[in-house]
Symmetry: C2
């Protein structure tokens, strides 16, 4: 696996895990599952394949220092810093263009900073197989074998088999589909031909730049121009200037839904996007009553006749007769939410933003 690099996209906000996920401490910075941040876990997960100098991170300016402090083993310059968020296409284009200046033959595994992957060795194996497929000219997407008709994810439809790479069956990708309604999601699941789009894919930088040139020439032009400034004193000023003009586009919309020669490797690696308090609850260890009580303090907790409930609190927390609830207790905000309603947390964040209550965001 020569010239293989990882690029961790760590610019997200994770608003559905509010009030713990905040502007200054977004989801990837939080120790939600174990004692370390999800970002740090995301780096450690791949260290058996990638030495620290081959792991890049793309993120926003306000988070870069905190993220660097989480993984001091990574070289400082491996953090590619966008001035502010412009969705995934500009962020990844900037990062891939930067990596290309270091190694024109680079293949890059684009990974996430705030997802959970239970089966770490299998994940590393699939990254190795994906590298091989990428050398044959494909963009290789990691598709998650769906377990229910989710309406919250994009789907990848698999086409003809492309072959087996080690133990992984690889397919042509026929189509990228945006989040479906429940009827279509149910059809997708029944067909056995669809995977969830995990947002993780393996891409040679030379091909990436060609894809960008073809489908997003403005983005391509600006990133190519920036390549000539990498390492010079003018880089920051040029980046700032260019960034204003960058369109806000997702990488799926900008490239994936338009280009061809995409492969998909459907995998079951115990993946979760930890996209809500309910999905976090699902992956955390629970006691015999289905409760999960988390918090930094060693305070005693008193729980009477309480079931299937998630509590995050550093204070003495007493629950009596509580069922199927999520309780998140932070310094300035208290959230109490039915476990079936945790998607609506996003609405609350939107409401607070629109009403000027940014202190709580």
């Amino acid at each position: 696996m020569d010239h293989y690099y990882a690029l961790i996209a760590a610019g997200g906000h994770g608003t559905r895990l509010w009030p713990m996920s905040r502007a200054k401490t977004p989801k990837q910075m939080l120790p939600l599952i174990n004692q370390e941040s999800m970002f740090r876990t995301s780096v450690e997960r791949i260290q058996s394949i990638f030495p620290p100098e081959d792991i890049f991170v793309v993120t926003g300016r306000e988070l870069a220092d905190d993220l660097r402090a989480e993984v001091p083993q990574l070289p400082r310059d491996n953090f590619i810093v966008e001035p502010y968020a412009k969705n995934t296409a500009p962020a990844l284009a900037l990062a891939l263009a930067t990596i290309q200046t270091r190694d024109p033959e680079a293949t890059v595994a684009i990974l996430t900073a705030d997802h959970h992957i239970a089966q770490r060795p299998k994940f590393c194996q699939v990254l190795e197989s994906a590298w091989q497929v990428a050398q044959e000219g494909y963009i290789v997407t990691l598709g998650i074998a769906p377990s229910y008709p989710a309406t919250g994810y994009g789907y990848i439809e698999q086409g003809a088999p492309l072959g087996d790479y080690n133990d992984f069956a690889v397919y042509h990708s026929k189509r990228f589909t945006e989040k479906p309604d429940i009827v279509r999601a149910t059809q997708f699941l029944a067909s056995g031909l669809y995977s969830w789009n995990s947002g993780m894919f393996i891409w040679r930088v030379d091909r990436a730049m060609k894809d960008l040139e073809r489908y997003q020439p403005a983005v391509y032009a600006m990133c190519s121009y920036l390549q000539t400034a990498v390492g010079t004193p003018e880089y920051e000023a040029k980046l700032n200037d260019i960034w204003e003009t960058m369109p806000k586009l997702s990488i799926d919309f900008a490239v994936m839904e338009k280009t061809d020669n995409i492969a998909v490797i459907p995998i079951d690696i115990g993946w979760s996007d930890v996209g809500s308090w309910a999905s976090l609850y699902d992956i955390l260890p629970q006691d015999n009553f289905g409760n999960c009580i988390k918090g930094e303090a060693s305070d005693i907790r008193v729980i009477l006749d309480t079931r299937d409930t998630l509590v995050f609190s550093d204070r003495l927390t007493v629950a009596i007769g509580v069922e199927d609830m999520v309780v998140v207790d932070t310094d300035d905000v208290l959230l109490i939410c039915h476990k079936d309603r945790t998607q609506d947390v996003k609405q609350v964040v939107t409401y607070l933003r629109e009403n000027g209550n940014d202190d709580y965001l």
Copy 2:
């Protein structure tokens, strides 16, 4: 109504309103219903009958200063301070003996510091009628017309009519009954002959001392002896010494269940003992969805699809899909309790005490 005094028993702990009710700020000190403490409201409620110099308070040493600060209009010496709690019989015996030294012809309305009474004028009227009945030699108890078969209160069974006093029908009291089981409570309610024991009663001090002499001679002897020390430099030392020997007895057990010539006035005055979070919820104003959201801060609150829920919180509180819950958010404790389970808060307090977590009490 010559020689008529009020005595407010303000030594309670209100553990069922934990975690807001604490050792240093028990229930009577809290502004649970309006913007002022329940104790202050209890004093203001009777000011149309009793001038401040005729209102006495009996309480424990650790609370006396805070209670005095709540009602600065009361003379300092009107606070009768027991060294520490010994249940109601010693506290009331001490207080009545003290009042007797000021006025041997006193009639005393013994009232509570932490109950809610919606119909204030009617309450004052019944206190006036009770005074008249007390002059005929009766202990006059205020019985609350029961609205459901409560198992949490003592009951008073009414006997033969004693007559009408103003607009109030007064009866002989046949019997004091401890908290019944649900079967007996249902029978009591159906009979129409039982009132809840509100703990409020009107007693001439001369009769009170006679009752004590007959049924609790040790308590009587110690209180009589203390009467000779009131106002002397030795009072505190003598009180401290005597208090060690005082038995722990409730006034119901010590006297009421034993003596005769008790009258009862069954009344409906919008009374609540505010004995649990659920009973507090019942008397607080609710919005169209049955929610009651209280707290000092003017923080915005976000409540989505939440019904019949009581929230006490000074932080930004977000409730989504919550029903029939009580949420009490204090600096160091968070309580989340189903509205049907608020009696169990007492268990939690007991558990914390037994496990040495006194900081939370």
